[in-house]
């Protein structure tokens, strides 16, 4: 038996990203935003594939695909064409998909041969190809109904397919890479990755010299790690038992958390690709002059160099564009980058939940924005409130949306730091009365001073200014 645990694992990805930030679909003027629309209301002769309708290419979609290609350091050809992928499926209005396809010596992608650096060690994942294609409709299964119903609202929405080389060696790398991709797509403002189904991923995996197995139907980014881990175990077990691994397509079963064999017919399918005759060749030269917005890596360097943030804090902010945006808005109100970034990374982040795609997302229920964070940071920096109070205020305003400044105005007696010497001396005397023995000890023993300070802090619910209190305490001890 060979040591199966040492067999190298190779993982490649196919990411489908809906260009949700477009106004219209890829080949017609129906809305790109099909979500929450009445079933089969977001359709026209083109996306419904009515006889005689012709695709009209959305140039902005080409621009978006070029932006993604540039961000992933891809080569962009001078011109490109579309192809037809022919297969029968009820969610496909024309029974072919307009996509792009590399073959017969012609490259028909928008971008190719790119790369992405990801993770702390800046590992490189190579990008094979970036192409544009149309999303199909959706099959809807209703309870108690034997037929499937079809909703074509999504049919024709622009998708960018990003294909990587098999450069990942374990599921964790895949997760870190996908976080980076998500951040890039968010920074380019081409895809709202928080929308369900806006970002989907298929994976292919092989171990040792085994055949390549494709895993499809992975519902969310968080499931990819699980699906890959399952598949590695499955393939390794088969290798140990000398069972041949077949080249096949497997589906991720979300409920049972396993991969299972897809119908074998699927892999034999011949898609009969050929150039789409209704869309003339597209010159990419002019479109590729589009400037891309600031990308995550550039933004991270700026955070480190201009604001003095640590590598780690900058990375956490960048990985989630919402947080990075929140940070920049907050320092616009109160310029204290270090304290604001720390409040976001160490406190706000704890309140953010993982969404269905496995990503931490600021939700509408979270009623906190840049102004709140700026105020909190300033109140602490000014020594108006202490850290514990700040933390409890955060956990409160996240639900209520109250402004920290309003809270401390209303509830001065319970929130602000006590630095009034008269009030502090009153507390000291009270404690001296209660803790006579400790008071005597403290005259000679510094540890006992800390004990008394602790008592005072407890009495004032942590609001006593520790520095002033210590000075007063020592002074008072000398007097008694």
């Amino acid at each position: 038996m060979t040591g199966s645990s040492s067999l190298p694992v190779k993982i490649g990805l196919e990411i489908h990203c809906q260009l949700t930030q477009l106004n219209t679909k890829l080949f017609c003027s129906c809305y790109c935003n099909y979500r929450e629309k009445e079933i089969n209301s977001n359709i026209c002769p083109i996306c419904l594939g009515l006889p005689g309708s012709l695709p009209i290419l959305n140039k902005k979609a080409v621009g978006f695909a070029i932006m993604i290609s540039k961000a992933l350091d891809c080569k962009i050809p001078e011109l490109t064409v579309f192809s037809r992928k022919n297969y029968f499926y009820p969610d496909l209005p024309k029974n072919f998909q307009i996509t792009q396809y590399d073959s017969y010596g012609t490259s028909t992608s928008i971008g190719k041969e790119g790369s992405v650096k990801y993770g702390e060690n800046y590992k490189i994942a190579r990008i094979r190809r970036i192409q544009l294609e149309e999303d199909p409709g959706r099959l809807v299964y209703e309870n108690g109904r034997t037929q499937a119903l079809i909703d074509y609202n999504r049919a024709g929405v622009a998708l960018v397919e990003i294909v990587t080389e098999p450069d990942f060696v374990d599921p964790k790398e895949v997760r870190i890479f996908l976080n980076k991709m998500t951040s890039i797509l968010e920074h380019l403002d081409v895809c709202n990755t928080n929308l369900e189904g806006s970002l989907r991923c298929d994976a292919n995996i092989s171990i040792g010299n085994g055949k390549k197995v494709e895993i499809k139907n992975i519902g969310s980014f968080s499931d990819i790690e699980k699906a890959l881990t399952y598949e590695i175990t499955r393939q390794k077990t088969m290798t140990i038992h000398d069972i041949e691994i077949k080249a096949e397509t497997r589906h991720w079963d979300d409920k049972r958390k396993i991969t299972k064999q897809a119908r074998s017919k699927e892999e034999e399918e011949d898609y009969r690709y050929f150039p789409e005759p209704d869309i003339p060749k597209i010159l990419l030269e002019n479109i590729s002059l589009i400037k891309t917005p600031e990308l995550p890596d550039e933004r991270k360097s700026r955070f480190i160099n201009d604001y003095g943030l640590s590598e780690h804090v900058a990375q956490v902010l960048i990985d989630n564009k919402d947080l990075a945006d929140l940070f920049e808005s907050a320092i616009g109100i109160y310029h204290s980058p270090k304290s604001i970034s720390n409040w976001i990374v160490s406190d706000i982040l704890a309140f953010i939940e993982y969404d269905s795609s496995g990503k931490k997302t600021l939700t509408d229920e979270m009623k906190i924005d840049a102004k709140h964070i700026a105020e909190i940071a300033k109140l602490v920096d000014d020594n108006t409130i202490n850290r514990p109070t700040a933390k409890s205020i955060i956990s409160r305003i996240i639900k209520t949306g109250e402004l920290p400044s309003d809270i401390i105005k209303k509830e001065k007696q319970t929130t602000t730091i006590i630095n009034d010497e008269t009030i502090l001396l009153e507390s000291i005397d009270k404690i001296f009365n209660e803790e006579k023995k400790a008071t005597l000890d403290a005259k000679h023993n510094p540890t006992a001073i800390n004990f008394l300070l602790g008592k005072i802090m407890r009495m004032t619910k942590g609001r006593a200014d520790p520095k002033i209190t210590t000075i007063l305490l020592k002074k008072r001890l000398d007097e008694v």
Partner: protein, 486 residues
């Protein structure tokens, strides 16, 4: 006021505008004639019940002094593979027997904008696949000159209805000769424009990269008038071209009408039947007197044209026709108790034999392992032909040949022999492969059966082509008394 149906476009629009007769009178006469005559030739699939109402609206416009369009009152028949909002568009197929498009094709919209009246939908070979209009689910169309003979195809209804004077003009679609072949067989004028000149939006695709919508009329002048209205860039069709730029780069001075150099394509005339051959030469004798320079020329790549054409056309068709699965539109068939693959098989079994044949051939030539051998090779031949023709057009202004190498033949004669049937297109497919304009004009009869002359020009040379065609049409001056059919 008798026989309004014999009038040409100019006579109809002037007659109506000048109050010699009303649009309503004209349309009623046409509808009466269709009712009496069309049962003999079967050129219509659907008659537009709204035609009379539209005619009344035009009359109202005129009587109230409002401006009317350049085609006001003419009646145009439309090949039934061009989408008409609210009017059934069957493609002569059972697959679309109940299909009513929710939108107008661009050409229909443009005709309506100029106040032309859509009189009805015309018969064709199913999905425009055929050369005789025998492959229709609505019965074959007969040749108005001799009812035992085929009318050509696939736009057979479009040609037969114009020859039978059931409409002023018509629209057909030409993928490999489907406008020119029936025009030739029915002794009318049929024109296929440069690829990209007329919008295909709304034309049910058979072979997207080859086909164009084209007009059929009784005179070149009528065809010109329809072309003026339907051509031009369309934002709904990415393959249409802004002609303003192209026409300027290919300047043609109509003063030089008679200085044209014409080449007769040797390979195409040599393959023609004796009677067709003779007719072509006697036509050449007639128009030579007008001062054209004429000589024989050669197009070597023409021998591969038909194979290239049928490879590309069937490949594209196999994909285009995939959408007909009866899920979104089509005909009545309850999907209950079917697994979807079984349902697809069941519904798609309703295609006719010729359509099935082409879907199978097309799927084969695109399948992996054969793509390079067939489809890619066919594309290379297409480029070769285009290139060779381009060179010829540096030498000649126009190239001529018989439109079809044979006379119209009897119904049923070739229906069982696809290869013989495909050979009918041998002269016409060149223009589709090269994307150039080509016209068929009547030049005579043999035993009462029409013969047509094909004239081709370089791309976007429509003005020159149509102007010269008019000169040739006049010089030949064939007997234009159309069949009575009563």
């Amino acid at each position: 006021m008798s026989s309004l149906y014999t009038l040409n476009i100019e006579q109809v629009t002037n007659g109506i505008k000048n109050g010699e007769f009303t649009s309503e009178e004209y349309v009623s006469q046409i509808i009466d004639r269709i009712k009496k005559v069309d049962q003999k030739i079967n050129s219509f699939i659907t008659i537009n019940d709204n035609a009379l109402v539209q005619a009344q609206q035009i009359d109202k416009k005129i009587s109230s002094g409002s401006k009317v369009g350049s085609l006001a009152g003419i009646v145009v028949g439309i090949k039934d593979n061009i989408s008409t909002a609210g009017l059934k568009t069957t493609c002569a197929s059972k697959m679309l027997s109940d299909y009513v498009p929710p939108y107008d094709a661009t050409v229909i919209k443009r005709l309506k904008d100029k106040d032309a009246i859509i009189i009805g939908k015309l018969n064709l070979d199913e999905f425009a696949m055929g050369s005789t209009t025998e492959w229709s689910s609505y019965g074959l169309t007969r040749n108005p000159w001799n009812l035992d003979y085929v009318c050509g195809g696939s736009s057979g209804g479009s040609a037969a209805s114009v020859a039978a004077q059931l409409c002023t003009a018509s629209l057909g679609s030409d993928t490999g000769g489907s406008v020119r072949c029936p025009a030739s067989f029915c002794s009318v004028v049929g024109f296929k424009p440069t690829y990209g000149l007329v919008s295909r939006y709304g034309l049910v695709s058979y072979s997207n990269s080859l086909e164009q919508i084209g007009p059929i009329g009784r005179t070149v002048s009528d065809v010109k008038k329809i072309m003026e209205v339907i051509s031009g860039k369309d934002t709904n069709d990415n393959t249409t071209i802004d002609t303003r730029n192209n026409i300027n780069t290919n300047h043609y001075d109509s003063e030089q009408k008679n200085n044209q150099k014409i080449g007769l394509l040797r390979e195409l005339i040599n393959g023609a039947d004796e009677s067709v051959y003779q007719c072509i030469y006697s036509a050449i004798d007639k128009f030579n007197k007008f001062g054209f320079t004429y000589e024989e020329s050669s197009l070597k790549s023409s021998e591969y044209a038909l194979a290239s054409y049928y490879t590309i056309a069937t490949a594209e068709a196999s994909s285009n026709l995939a959408r007909f699965d009866n899920i979104r539109y089509g005909f009545e068939l309850n999907p209950d108790d079917y697994e979807w693959n079984t349902y697809f098989s069941k519904t798609r079994g309703n295609f006719g034999d010729e359509v099935k044949r082409r879907i199978i051939v097309g799927s084969f030539v695109l399948s992996s392992g054969y793509y390079g051998k067939y489809y890619l090779k066919a594309q290379r031949v297409k480029n070769l032909i285009k290139h060779e023709l381009k060179k010829l057009f540096k030498e000649y202004d126009l190239l001529i040949s018989p439109t079809v190498p044979v006379l119209p033949f009897k119904i049923g004669e070739k229906i069982d022999d696809p290869l013989k049937m495909y050979l009918i297109d041998i002269n016409t497919v060149l223009a589709n492969l090269a994307g150039i304009p080509a016209i068929s004009i009547p030049i005579g009869f043999k035993n009462g059966l029409p013969i047509g002359l094909q004239i081709m020009a370089d791309e976007f040379q429509e003005k020159k082509l149509l102007d010269i065609s008019e000169v040739i049409e006049k010089s030949i001056n064939i007997n234009t008394s159309y069949p009575d059919l009563y």
